[in-house]
């Protein structure tokens, strides 16, 4: 970007400046800290100049939006063409209540749906299982069978709205229900659009909603990917997630690195299945976190896009540019929210949403200010949605593509994070790949170490957190909080009883027997799962078939 002579001259000038102007000020007014770092602990210099990006090759590092290596974004016009999809993750109580919240959000200008299922659904248990006690309808909507799913999407046209479902180990089951409902609405599979998270590796690493051991659970993941590329072409078959890795304590670079490591494992598994990389890779998508340190986040997103493009092209030999694009959803950082002075969270979320816009995401969920205390109230959700609408419509971040490109600091930080990602990927390859690194606890331990370091920094006061270790004040507790009806557990169990009594027993049994057979073979399970959900088999019953065939995952704890 700069010629050698010019760089030499700038280096000279820096020396002069340090010895004169800077020195005079530092002698009288020392800086606030000896060392400045990002929230991830990466050291930040006082000043960035062309010297920090002296070997910068524009074409190699940045290129143009919509073109390899996609550093500047995956589309040529980015938000000038279309704003990101505003997609608030929602779900609580019964399917009826969540259906109402969905309709409310769509009326308020939200452009896509995102379903939060309660934990029993995510862990493959029905609402009447002993481990479901106290959990029914709590952190998401209770869905045991296609009957609940029908109520959930009642009056919502599945050819017009795209839906993201946070479902992993049982992703095939919930997708099967969604497809069956689309069929009933008369919407052909080719017109159905949306996403399933389907990222089982991060469940094992940090999120905890695993069911089956790594190998068979990966088989189900690949079955879904394979089925969709053949029959549901608009479906994003996986959302490879760094979000939860970050929430568990990872740094920005670790979040990106471990997510890419998971991505590499999925791509390899599909290739091992015999799928051509360019057949399935265009439908892979990602999911990241956004913390409050705006510039570090922007650098993280840019570094991730560039690194993934190189992985797909160089490591996997992809030819289709769409296979090289890191398309991603962002959710603002849940763990950054404080229970103390909760209204301050609105400001944190605004900065995080701004970072997301500057970083070039395809969709966004903004958290509500009350989420360190409870599920969000309708008022809090509305403020969260308005926050991203303000960023989109008023901040100016959407008017030009990749606005921070060329900032000496942002480019240097992008390079730094890219190098950190590369170190991790090399290390994981040396250990024998992602699954091996997880089995050894390497990834888990790296994340826990970062969580510990962060906590120590907060407690020593080295890192300031407003309302936690500085600007603390006494305040009354927040009273307007959302409560889930405690009777929901019983209601859901009643529904299950009715379903089990009323369904066609013969069809139900045959469907599960057939599923068992297919699950033992090499055949793709999706058609058998679709038939099973239509035969009113429940999430728990289908997962029980697989628990029986595949066994259950028992994690090793690395404390």
């Amino acid at each position: 970007m700069f010629d050698k002579e010019k760089i030499k001259a700038i280096k000279e000038r820096i020396k002069q400046w340090e010895g004169s102007t800077l020195k005079r000020v530092l002698d009288r007014f020392p800086e606030r800290k000896k060392k400045f770092t990002t929230i991830s602990g990466t050291e930040v210099n006082r000043l960035y100049t062309p010297v920090d990006v002296e070997d910068f090759d524009y074409d190699e590092k940045l290129g143009f939006p919509g073109e390899y290596p996609f550093t500047r974004g995956v589309q040529p016009t980015m938000y000038r063409g279309r704003l990101w999809t505003m997609r608030q993750y929602a779900g609580f109580g019964t399917a009826e209540e969540t259906n109402k919240r969905f309709k409310y959000l769509l009326e308020q200008g939200q452009t896509g749906l995102s379903v939060a299922f309660h934990l029993p659904t995510q862990a493959g248990y029905d609402s009447d299982h002993p481990l479901s006690m106290g959990e029914v309808g709590k952190v998401g909507v209770a869905v045991d069978s296609i009957e609940d799913m029908k109520v959930l999407f009642d009056g919502i046209p599945l050819d017009k709205v795209t839906t993201s479902m946070t479902i992993n180990a049982p992703a095939t089951v919930l997708l099967a229900m969604y497809l069956a409902i689309a069929e009933e609405q008369g919407v052909p599979f080719e017109k159905v659009g949306g996403t399933v998270q389907n990222d089982v590796l991060k469940e094992i690493i940090c999120r905890g909603q695993y069911i089956f051991p790594p190998q068979p659970t990966m088989r189900l993941t690949v079955d879904l990917i394979e089925y969709c590329y053949k029959h549901v072409p608009r479906w994003n078959t996986i959302s490879i997630s760094g979000y939860h890795i970050r929430e568990a304590g990872a740094t920005a670079a670790q979040e990106m690195a471990f997510t890419i490591a998971d991505g590499i494992a999925y791509v390899q598994a599909c290739i091992d299945r015999g799928l051509a990389v360019d057949s399935f890779a265009p439908r892979l998508s990602f999911f990241f976190n956004a913390f409050t340190n705006v510039l570090e986040e922007v650098a993280k997103f840019r570094a991730g896009r560039r690194y993934w493009a190189r992985v797909m092209k160089e490591r996997f030999g992809a030819k289709n540019p769409k296979s090289m694009m890191m398309r991603y959803h962002v959710q603002t950082g849940g763990v950054t929210l404080t229970a103390q002075q909760p209204l301050n969270n609105i400001v944190r979320v605004a900065l995080q949403a701004y970072a997301t816009a500057l970083g070039g995401a395809q969709s966004l969920h903004t958290n509500s200010y009350d989420e360190a205390l409870c599920l969000p109230t309708e008022q809090a959700v509305t403020v969260a949605l308005r926050t991203q609408q303000i960023v989109a419509e008023e901040s100016g971040a959407t008017e030009t593509v990749d606005p921070l490109a060329g900032s000496y600091y942002v480019e240097a930080m992008t390079d730094t994070i890219e190098a950190q990602i590369d170190d991790y990927i090399k290390k994981i390859d040396e250990l024998g790949g992602t699954l091996k690194a997880i089995e050894l606890g390497y990834i888990q331990k790296e994340i826990q170490e970062s969580a510990y370091r962060f906590q120590k920094e907060i407690e020593s006061g080295e890192r300031i957190y407003v309302g936690i270790n500085k600007y603390v004040m006494e305040e009354p507790p927040l009273t307007n909080i959302l409560k889930v009806d405690p009777r929901i557990g019983e209601m859901q169990i009643e529904r299950l009883k009715k379903l089990r009594a009323q369904r066609d027993q013969k069809r139900w049994k045959e469907a599960l027997d057939h599923l068992r057979e297919v699950s033992r073979s090499d055949e793709n399970v999706m058609p058998a799962v679709i038939e099973a959900v239509k035969a009113r088999a429940t999430v728990g019953e289908i997962c029980d078939v697989w628990r029986d065939v595949y066994g259950e995952y028992r994690p090793k704890e690395f404390v």
Partner: protein
């Protein structure tokens, strides 16, 4: 009181139900160990019966339960009740996580000694345990 006071404080750190948020639980397990306590971390997916079983087997002084999925009103009192039924009235039960302020009085009434919300300095939790363990 039969237990000797110079023995290390033994803490069972438990994750109830299906909740996967274990950052806080794992962090506290490490901090308790650094504070000189002996720590048993249960891992995820525990029923109240399993937690109490661990407490019995390990002869625990403290059970710390971390819940971020809203099961506290069911789970915490159930653990206290099962401990009592097994004659472990002297085990200190503390809880933490995402727990609305209005739920706290009921939990304390049920026998949970203290609830620690998000942002609590870990030293405060360590001090509380040291001051209140084996008092009953």
């Amino acid at each position: 009181m039969s237990k000797s006071n110079d023995r290390k404080i033994k803490v069972v750190v438990a994750k109830p139900g299906l909740d996967g948020h274990d950052r806080g639980a794992k962090l506290l397990a490490r901090i308790f160990a650094e504070a000189g306590m002996e720590v048993i971390y249960t891992g995820l997916r525990q029923t109240p019966e399993m937690v109490v079983q661990t407490a019995i087997q390990e002869d625990a002084d403290v059970v710390g339960i971390s819940s971020l999925s809203g099961v506290h009103n069911y789970f915490f009192p159930k653990v206290v009740q099962l401990l009592k039924e097994n004659g472990l009235d002297d085990v200190l039960v503390v809880g933490g996580g995402i727990i609305p302020a209005e739920d706290i009085p009921k939990l304390k009434e049920a026998g949970v000694a203290e609830i620690f919300g998000p942002g609590t300095p870990t030293q405060k939790i360590v001090d509380f345990i040291k001051q209140n363990v084996r008092k009953k």
